[in-house]
């Protein structure tokens, strides 16, 4: 298994290596290599897709301001080296847009000239606020999100078609890969955590599981259309956690709230402390769900990139050191790659399992509460 996958992985890594190399070679003459900046740049969302060196792919920008919606290409901000440093004066709204760390802002103008600070143009905070900018651009992450969604639809609709075409027969091809996973989510995740009502939540759990897993894997591909840190972006994990939270809330029953507000079998004195914790817990659970996925995936990307940055950090000292370190860091990165393959699945599993457990808690039927605490039962 390892041997068969090793070569493609190595090629992968070398691709990443060469991309990084040319990137850093070009930046070295201007300023020293900055590992933190490089890592953050790769981990964050962007309005254009960096391919290699001075080549990027522009992505469409959709911006809503107080003067209406406008669309333009992100290449309007580019300088000659495809870096988003320029100012774009919108013909329809007249705003002087520029990208401040990939955030769309209105530039500050003094005496008919744009004010330039240490890190490019400066923001006119009042104008930005007044413009009520809502950036709905197709960023790198949005593009990756849509690509992942298309892949998901393609995989599962074709698998569903195979099931329809060959009813009651054994699995074949893609079906054989997908079916054990579906069975795994159904029998090992949903059923033990939720119980009898698991069928109702199964579509959501399956979608979440495969969404996270597939996008984790896509994020590990170091070149377009993969490589976006989608599942390591708070916006994405927040939406997923919010959906879990909303579904949990919609399905809660009296038993659940009784356990939150007045845990049966607990004396009143303890309840005063316990109930606030329980109420907080209702919100902390999805919050932790959000942070865990985000932090795991982002940390994976950061560590892999940090190993690579070592080569260039040492490269600034001497070429020989860079070659020596490159061997070690490639080995470490390959190791991290396999770790991340495992983490990609594990995080999808953990997110799905915890979601299922929260659903299970919400729909659980109490049999003992009334018998123990008639007064709390009457209160509800």
């Amino acid at each position: 298994m390892f041997q068969r996958n090793f070569f493609p992985t190595l090629v992968f890594i070398l691709c990443l290596f060469s991309a990084n190399k040319s990137f850093s070679e070009d930046t070295i003459p201007k300023k020293p290599f900055n590992a933190g900046e490089l890592i953050l740049h790769h981990v964050q969302d962007a309005h254009s897709w960096h391919i290699t060196g001075h080549t990027s792919v522009p992505l469409p920008m959709i911006v809503k301001t107080d003067k209406g919606i406008e669309c333009f290409s992100s290449s309007v901000f580019w300088n000659k080296e495809h870096e988003p440093t320029e100012i774009y004066t919108s013909p329809s709204s007249g705003y002087d847009f520029f990208l401040n760390h990939e955030h769309l802002k209105v530039a500050k103008k003094e005496n008919g000239e744009f004010v330039k600070g240490e890190e490019g143009y400066e923001e006119d905070e009042e104008a930005t606020k007044a413009a009520k900018i809502l950036d709905l651009s197709m960023t790198k992450n949005v593009f990756s999100l849509l690509f992942g969604a298309l892949i998901m639809c393609w995989i599962f609709l074709s698998v569903a078609k195979m099931y329809k075409k060959r009813p009651g027969q054994g699995t074949k091809g893609l079906q054989s890969l997908i079916e054990p996973l579906i069975m795994f989510v159904r029998d090992d995740v949903a059923k033990p955590s939720i119980g009898k009502k698991s069928d109702k939540f199964l579509p959501f759990l399956l979608t979440v599981f495969f969404f996270i897993w597939i996008n984790n894997l896509l994020g590990m591909i170091p070149f377009m259309p993969g490589g976006a840190n989608l599942t390591g972006s708070v916006s994405i994990t927040m939406v997923l956690a919010l959906l879990t939270f909303v579904i949990t809330m919609v399905n809660t029953n009296a038993h659940y709230w009784r356990h939150v507000f007045a845990m049966p079998g607990v004396p009143i004195g303890v309840l005063i402390i316990l109930t606030p914790i329980e109420i907080l817990g209702v919100f902390i659970k999805p919050f932790v769900l959000m942070v865990r996925l985000f932090a795991n995936i982002t940390a994976g990307h950061i560590i892999a990139l940090a190993f690579f940055s070592l080569i260039f950090i040492f490269g600034e000292m001497s070429t020989g050191a860079a070659f020596g370190v490159s061997v070690v860091s490639v080995i470490f990165t390959v190791f991290m790659f396999f770790m991340e393959l495992l983490v990609a699945f594990l995080q999808a599993y953990v997110f799905t399992l915890l979601s299922a457990m929260y659903f299970g808690g919400a729909v659980e039927e109490g049999h003992h509460a009334e018998a123990h605490h008639p007064e709390t039962a009457a209160a509800h």
């Binding site: 999100l145 849509l146 579906i182 159904r186």
Partner: protein, 173 residues
């Protein structure tokens, strides 16, 4: 929370509204699409197949039992046939033996009879031959005796000796 106070400065941990909206729309569409066109049919098919597998397993079990029963039946029939055959063979053997022994006895008595009659005939013939031989020997000996006597008594001397001899014998008696 302290986290959020710090978070506002760092784009990495700040959720972005645009991306969230894209995510929400895309995810809900994917969820609804897959629920309608993928998960429901797939789960249904898996369930159908599971029940059909279960049923066929149960059917196979049943068929196995039936085969077992059939085998038992066959065995019983074969056993019965074997017993029947053995009985037939035994009967026929018995019959053969009786016939053979009967034939033997018959043949023996016949042979005995033949032998006895042959022996009788032989005896009879023998007796006849012996009687004939005796008669012939008697006739022959009489003839010989006559001839000897004639020859012996042809001269006087011999006649006298004979008479003397007889006389002597008589005296002695």
């Amino acid at each position: 929370m302290n986290t959020f106070l710090l978070a506002s400065d760092i784009p990495l941990v700040m959720p972005e509204f645009g991306l969230m909206i894209w995510m929400l729309i895309t995810f809900v569409i994917v969820l609804l699409l897959l629920r309608r066109y993928a998960w429901k049919p797939i789960l249904k098919m898996i369930k159908t197949r599971e029940t059909s597998i279960e049923e066929s397993l149960r059917g196979a079990e049943k068929a196995r039992d039936e085969i077992k029963e059939l085998y038992a039946n066959n065995e019983r029939i074969i056993n019965e046939a074997r017993v029947e055959r053995d009985k037939l063979i035994k009967d026929s053997n018995d019959a053969k033996e009786t016939i053979i022994s009967e034939a033997k006895t018959k043949a023996k008595t016949e042979a005995d009879r033949i032998v006895t009659s042959a022996r009788e005939t032989i005896n009879n013939e023998k007796m006849a031959a012996i009687t004939e031989l005796k008669n012939q020997v008697a006739a022959l000996s009489i003839e010989i005796a006559e001839k000897i006597l004639k020859e012996h008594l042809s001269n006087d001397e011999n006649q006298k000796a004979l008479v003397n001899n007889y006389v002597k014998d008589i005296n002695l008696n």
